[in-house]
Symmetry: C2
Subunit: 151 residues, 2 copies
């Protein structure tokens, strides 16, 4: 087996590990957020993304990117959250195709209540990953990342 084949296997292994850690964290978050606050992980992600904009608007397209969702899924997700009164759609004047979304006070409140759950479960899930031999190297690498905003 040559160097090229090794590289292929390293990438495949890295991808499997990444997927395993992702699944571990997402499942834990999903259960906790859903059970304690009636929020799915993507819903929390959207509320959090809006909140980290410092009260500023966000376009559907940006939201889709932040939540790693398709356009259609984003439309329905925003509709869902709007129906629950957690955010509002705001038509924007300068580009009449665009639609901005904005957290409502209820949305901010729910987010603040859910955040401790999110942070705790994330911490626990990462600890569990670090305690799992084949996941530990990647879980450890996550801690080394510079916390600079994800555009």
């Amino acid at each position: 087996m040559g160097i090229a084949d090794d590289a292929v296997e390293v990438r495949a292994h890295g991808w499997r590990t990444l997927a395993a850690v992702h699944s571990l964290i997402e499942t834990a978050l999903e259960r906790a957020l859903q059970g304690e606050h009636g929020l799915s992980v993507v819903e929390y992600t959207v509320l959090d993304a809006l909140d980290r904009q410092d009260g500023w608007h966000m376009r559907m397209r940006q939201l889709a990117r932040a939540a790693a969702l398709s356009n259609s899924a984003t439309t329905r997700l925003v509709t869902r959250l709007e129906d629950r009164g957690l955010l509002t759609r705001v038509l924007c004047a300068d580009d009449r195709r665009g639609i901005y979304t904005e957290l409502t006070p209820a949305g901010m409140e729910l987010l603040e209540r859910a955040r401790p759950t999110h942070d705790r479960v994330l911490r626990e899930a990462l600890a569990e990953a670090e305690a799992t031999p084949e996941l530990a190297p990647l879980a450890g690498a996550l801690r080394e990342l510079e916390p600079r905003p994800l555009r």
Copy 2:
């Protein structure tokens, strides 16, 4: 903002980055495998996991773990692949609750055809991640992982 808050933010940032890289890779793989071979990513993952067992059987439960899927989803996924003649269910004698799955020749053949696509797209997706400033550190860390089998 104290040290504890920093740690919370580091974890949150790491999780967002992980999710972003995961989504980038999965989306690219999904499109390519679906378009060129009619396989979804999980389907490919299952075939590959079975293949890496060196012709050995795998229980549904193991398969569920390997594919990061629930039991029910695994049942249906296996049913789907069985209907397409890519694998077979094998009842196991010593534990009559258990069901083993095994690749058929057609399954191995399709896997071998799909593997180059998978490897190529994975390489491209990782390259794209490394070219994206906020994803690059994590993408780089993946390359440093020791390619030891994921049990």
